[in-house]
Amino acid sequence: GGGTETASSDASTARVDEAKSIVAEHTKRPTEISAKEAIDKPIPRGKQLTFISCGSPACNLESDVIRSATDALGWTLKTINTDGTPEKVKAAWTQVVRDKPDGVLYTATPKAIFAKELKQVKANGTVVAACCTTDPATADGIDFVVGTPKQNEQLGKVMAAWVVAESEGKGNAVFFDIGAFPILTALYKALKPELARLCPDCDVESVDVPLSALGKDVPDRIVSYLRSHPKVKYVVLSADNALAIGLPAALKAAGLGDVKVFGEGPDTTVLQYIANGSMDGTIMFPYYEEMFAMVDAVVRKTVGVPLVDSGTPVWIINKDNLPSSSSLFPVVEDVQEQYFKLWGVKG
């Protein structure tokens, strides 16, 4: 029996090493954006972009990022704020129909809400670019999508590697999902098999958090889970700007200081938790990269060159490589300059 044991332990060591190398690889800050092809035709100035803001905090940042791009291009940006209710989103699209801009950008709204307006927008010749939606890009609908479920699967795999690496191949983990956001489900879809592959002894369970718990009793739910599952020491959050807020204090009060927490999509609060060591790591959300990718898509469509792959870089941040805890930052440090170079403009 000893031989097989050694063999299996060798195999498991190998897998742990693989996990560690995946984590190590993604802990290095990416330096290149996925788009490589420069635009060889001149980009006309004076074009008009519209951004439909979702009404959540991140959208304000996104608006600023887009503005830095349009300013460099000599384009104008109009941001329409909505409160996130379907009617107001629809009204914003009605306005896009009236305004006839050259491009419209939006994030995280299902297409069904404005399907009718979308047809008219297309008829006006407006380019439509989206982020963070399960709706696919199709010939007669959205021209370009970044932040797709497929891209999220990549993140799920990295999360699995993190659990294995941190636990030296012994981790029992729990994944907190928000069912209301289908795009997050892709994370677990990839996480579970990847964890099984990297660590057959590890286990993970997905726990669904209802929308109505956000901002209220999420930390209490997580603490309760951990108390009733004392073997679980690794917590993976599907969206830590919604799930991690207040968690460190709750873990501390419950004496669960040995639990490690990892996530995806931090806000400044989460960055702060990472900075002071009360959270262990997270995958940075590529706000800058995705906004620029959308603008880039509109630019390419406008000048008539083929669109490029919408993949975005993955970066694990932890206490040691965190650039700042008081503001959000790009994944690729000079993302702006790299795009400007592709566009042939100066920032």
Binding site: N60, K78, N81, D83, P86, A91, A112, K116, A180
Partner: protein
């Protein structure tokens, strides 16, 4: 010492005008009807229109803007109208927002997962809303639970059921395009059907409250349940019915909303909770001197919606809409406030 006050020895109180009895067109009637106190929201609305037209002369004062305002406020108008009747009978129905989600999800679920036809699905969704109304009524009227909390409780239960069935995921499918979306998205001369539904619902509410004995009894039950009871008004039955009415209207609003969304969203209704109450209470200060009423509610919805559209047209910063809503709510109510206070004080007129 105010010398001017002695110049008006017979003080004319500004009170409620009758709804239907032909008013003589005296200066006093005119003042009471068109004075700032009675239609503050309309003046604020007009002021907004002037200001936005000056600020955005090209885009704001257009027919397209008018249509956009109407179209984008039909849903909230329907939601608010659901509240007028129960509030008249002094019953809070906080569950209406959840009922909206419920009926939308029900239609979508039935069409997508059972392949049911649209009319049948709508019928069952309305039945579900009716059931909610009955349960609310049992909780509030029969069990005697304070309506504000009782309906928050039923709302919470409805949300639980929705989560149970949908797992909090919107129900979308190709089967939901076509006839289903046409309920909410068909437009007539640029104005979508929900606008007409809202006007119809307002007209019906107005007719019931102003022109039927039931309406008068609803007000009586709301103002003074005990006296109404002594006068032979069946207060409990009216409360029961008013909760059913609100659930049915909310259920209908939810179907319209889902059709607008093209999907059954498990949380579609919740954003309407506070705005709808704000509109109904603001509406109560309009036209009818503190009584909940349908046209006042519509006016309030338009007054709040116009500004938001204007701000969006002018690409105002993200904080502007909240600021605007707050200021306008207070302005419209304060201008009616003096009025209302004197009415309340009037009770003490010896």
């Amino acid at each position: 010492m105010t010398t001017d006050s002695t110049a008006h020895p017979t003080h004319a109180p500004t009170g409620g005008e009758p709804p239907a009895a032909a008013p003589e067109l005296t200066a006093r009637t005119l003042r009471a009807t068109f004075g700032f106190g009675n239609i503050g929201a309309i003046w604020v609305l007009l002021l907004q229109i002037v200001l936005f037209s000056v600020w955005l002369p090209d885009v704001f004062p257009t027919a397209a803007t008018a249509k956009q305002i109407l179209n984008s406020n039909a849903g909230i108008a329907l939601a608010a109208l659901a509240l007028v009747v129960p509030l008249t009978a002094r019953v809070f129905d906080l569950s209406f927002a959840y009922t909206m989600s419920l009926s939308g999800v029900t239609v979508a679920y039935l069409m997508v997962h059972t392949g049911m036809g649209l009319p049948a699905a709508i019928g069952i969704a309305l039945l579900a809303a009716l059931l909610v109304g009955v349960i609310n009524a049992i909780v509030v009227v029969v069990l005697g639970v304070e309506s504000l909390i009782g309906t928050l409780g039923t709302g919470s239960i409805i949300q639980a059921l929705i989560t149970f069935v949908t797992k909090d995921i919107s129900i979308t499918d190709d089967r939901l395009t076509g006839s289903f979306t046409s309920i909410g998205q068909t437009d007539v001369g640029g104005i979508v059907l929900p606008v007409f539904y809202a006007v119809l619902a307002a007209a019906a509410t107005w007719y019931v409250l102003e022109h039927t004995a039931t309406g008068r009894r609803l007000y009586a039950a709301g103002f003074n349940a005990d006296a109404a009871r002594l006068a032979g008004v069946r207060v409990e039955r009216l409360r029961f019915l008013s909760l059913i009415a609100s659930s049915l209207i909310a259920g209908f609003a939810g179907i319209v909303l889902a059709s607008n969304l093209g999907s059954g969203s498990p949380t579609a209704g919740t954003p309407y909770l506070l705005p709808a109450f704000a509109a109904v209470f603001l509406g109560a200060t309009q036209f009818k001197h503190g009584r909940f009423n349908a046209w006042g509610t519509l006016t309030a919805v338009l007054m709040l919606g116009t500004g938001l559209t204007g701000l969006a047209l002018g690409s105002a910063p993200p904080w502007a809409s909240n600021m605007f809503t707050g200021v306008v709510l207070i302005a419209a109510l304060a201008s009616s406030g003096v009025q209302r206070r004197t009415r309340l004080r009037g009770r003490r007129a010896p």
